[in-house]
């Protein structure tokens, strides 16, 4: 199976649910192929690619599609069922990088003091304490736990600096879900996800989504906070070379802080999920 064939078995986000009016169309791209979305009278969306209808589902406030008529099951986010959370689709950001680089950056905490200075991190609080990374027993997910980091403003709802606990899940090659300390509700965790639409191997549309316990901020404030963070990430992602994610360990040197990234890269390789990756030494 080629990396493209493997990638064609997954679901990908292509629009926010309800964004297209009946009859309204949107042209976009997925895995190098032109596709057209059309809003339908019942509030749903159809997806066609070269005259062929693709399957569509709505989950986590987004419209998902797949080039396969029998895609792998979409992953689950149990917290999406918790009615007391606020669900925040954050729009889309186009990034000229591999979809895998976008996910890997999302898994990284060591960049917070330098890229999200005085928000998600600040000097001299740069140390990354040891944490734990596992692959689930069925091999389906990468999970990082016991991640801790000092953050001056961990969320829109944070009043001041706190040590934030993180858990990361990678349930599909181009999806990452993080659970982090919720500043107004210390016993609960906010959920922030990155859903990535691969336009091709070196360009992606990123759809962040959040499920928060924040009843005070307005939707525009929540979206603006997340967009500000992600635009800071984009300035990095568009300046990494090569644009594809190198899987050869000799090409990019990791440290202990990069355990999640190391596990993610190995997991991609083992699963043949290398669309957007560089598999040979350049």
């Amino acid at each position: 199976m080629t990396p493209l064939e493997r990638a064609r078995e997954d679901w990908y986000p292509v629009e926010i649910a309800g964004a297209l009016a009946a009859g309204q169309t949107k042209a976009t791209r997925l895995l190098g192929q032109d596709i057209v979305l059309t809003g339908t009278a019942d509030g749903s969306v159809t997806v066609t690619a070269g005259g062929e209808d693709w399957p569509v589902c709505v989950a986590f406030d987004h419209v998902w599609t797949s080039p396969s008529q029998t895609p792998r099951p979409l992953f689950e986010i149990p917290e999406a069922q918790e009615k007391e959370r606020r669900f925040v689709p954050c729009g889309v950001v186009r990034v000229k990088c591999s979809p895998l680089r976008a996910v890997e950056n999302f898994l990284d905490i060591a960049h917070f003091p330098f890229v999200h200075t005085d928000i998600l991190g600040s000097e001299p609080y740069t140390e990354v304490e040891p944490y734990k990374v596992d692959i689930t027993d069925d091999g389906a997910e990468v999970i990082a736990t016991k991640v801790k980091f000092f953050q001056p403003q961990a969320a829109k709802s944070a009043g001041g600096g706190i040590v934030t606990d993180y858990v990361y899940r990678v349930p599909a090659p181009m999806v990452s879900i993080l659970y982090k300390t919720c500043p107004p509700k210390p016993d609960a965790q906010d959920v922030i996800t990155l859903f990535v639409q691969p336009l091709d191997e070196e360009t992606c549309d990123v759809w962040p989504w959040m499920a928060l316990y924040d009843y005070d901020s307005t939707m525009p404030e929540l979206i603006q906070f997340q967009q500000m963070i992600f635009l800071q990430d984009r300035s990095i992602l568009e300046n990494q070379k090569p644009r594809k994610l190198p899987l050869d360990p000799k090409m990019e040197i990791p440290t202990r802080a990069d355990l999640t990234s190391v596990a993610y890269r190995r997991w991609l390789k083992r699963n043949g999920a290398t669309y957007g990756a560089l598999t040979d030494a350049a």
Partner: protein, 204 residues
């Protein structure tokens, strides 16, 4: 700053004490362009994770592990760099000969052209300077004027991409403020000519 010479993408930086270094524009950790980094004293820090590299390109500090002494094997790919005649020179070859530049010159400005170096040279040698001097070409990538043994103008060309040229323009030490303004205006006229020739397909 970022400098490009054909396919070579290079980070050039100067330390607090004035030492120059030129490296492949890529942090060995996660491939980030080092030209986006920041200078901390005698080190360049990568913008992504703040890894410090000393003047020799060796990693000296990893902020995620403040107590760790990084192994010396973590280092940038360093290029030869020299400062001569008011210009910073970089070579990706280790055995590049020193540049022959007149010493007594002052930088005027650097100007980017959307055309080939040949067109820049053609335009520069076609259009006389405001004082009537004509510019002579020295090989493919340099030009100068000389009157009575004195250097009036020196131009060296850098080619970041096939149809892009940056002309670094310098004037002799005797140039007055008025001369410098005249040279700057001449360079803009040269650019208009060179880029117009590019569209027409030849000098008319």
């Amino acid at each position: 700053m970022r400098a490009q010479i054909g396919a070579a993408d290079i980070a050039v930086w100067r330390s607090r004490s004035g030492k120059l270094a030129a490296w492949e524009n890529r942090c060995p950790h996660r491939g980030m362009r080092l030209s986006h980094g920041f200078v901390r004293g005698e080190a360049l820090a990568c913008l992504y994770h703040g890894w410090h590299y000393n003047g020799a390109g060796i990693c000296t500090y990893i902020p995620a592990h403040p107590d760790l002494e990084p192994p010396e094997t973590i280092c940038t790919n360093a290029h030869a760099v020299a400062e001569q005649g008011g210009v910073i020179w970089v070579s990706t070859a280790s055995d590049a000969p020193a540049m022959a530049m007149p010493g007594n010159v002052h930088p005027v400005r650097s100007l980017t052209f959307d055309c080939s170096p040949e067109r820049v040279c053609d335009a520069m040698t076609t259009l006389p300077l405001p004082n009537g001097e004509t510019v002579a070409q020295d090989g493919a990538m340099a030009l100068h004027t000389e009157t009575a043994g004195k250097t009036g103008l020196v131009v060296v060309l850098q080619q970041p991409a096939p149809s892009e040229v940056t002309a670094h323009i310098l004037a002799g030490a005797d140039a007055t403020a008025q001369d410098l303004v005249a040279i700057s205006r001449w360079a803009e006229a040269v650019r208009r000519l060179a880029e117009r020739e590019g569209q027409d397909g030849g000098i008319t």
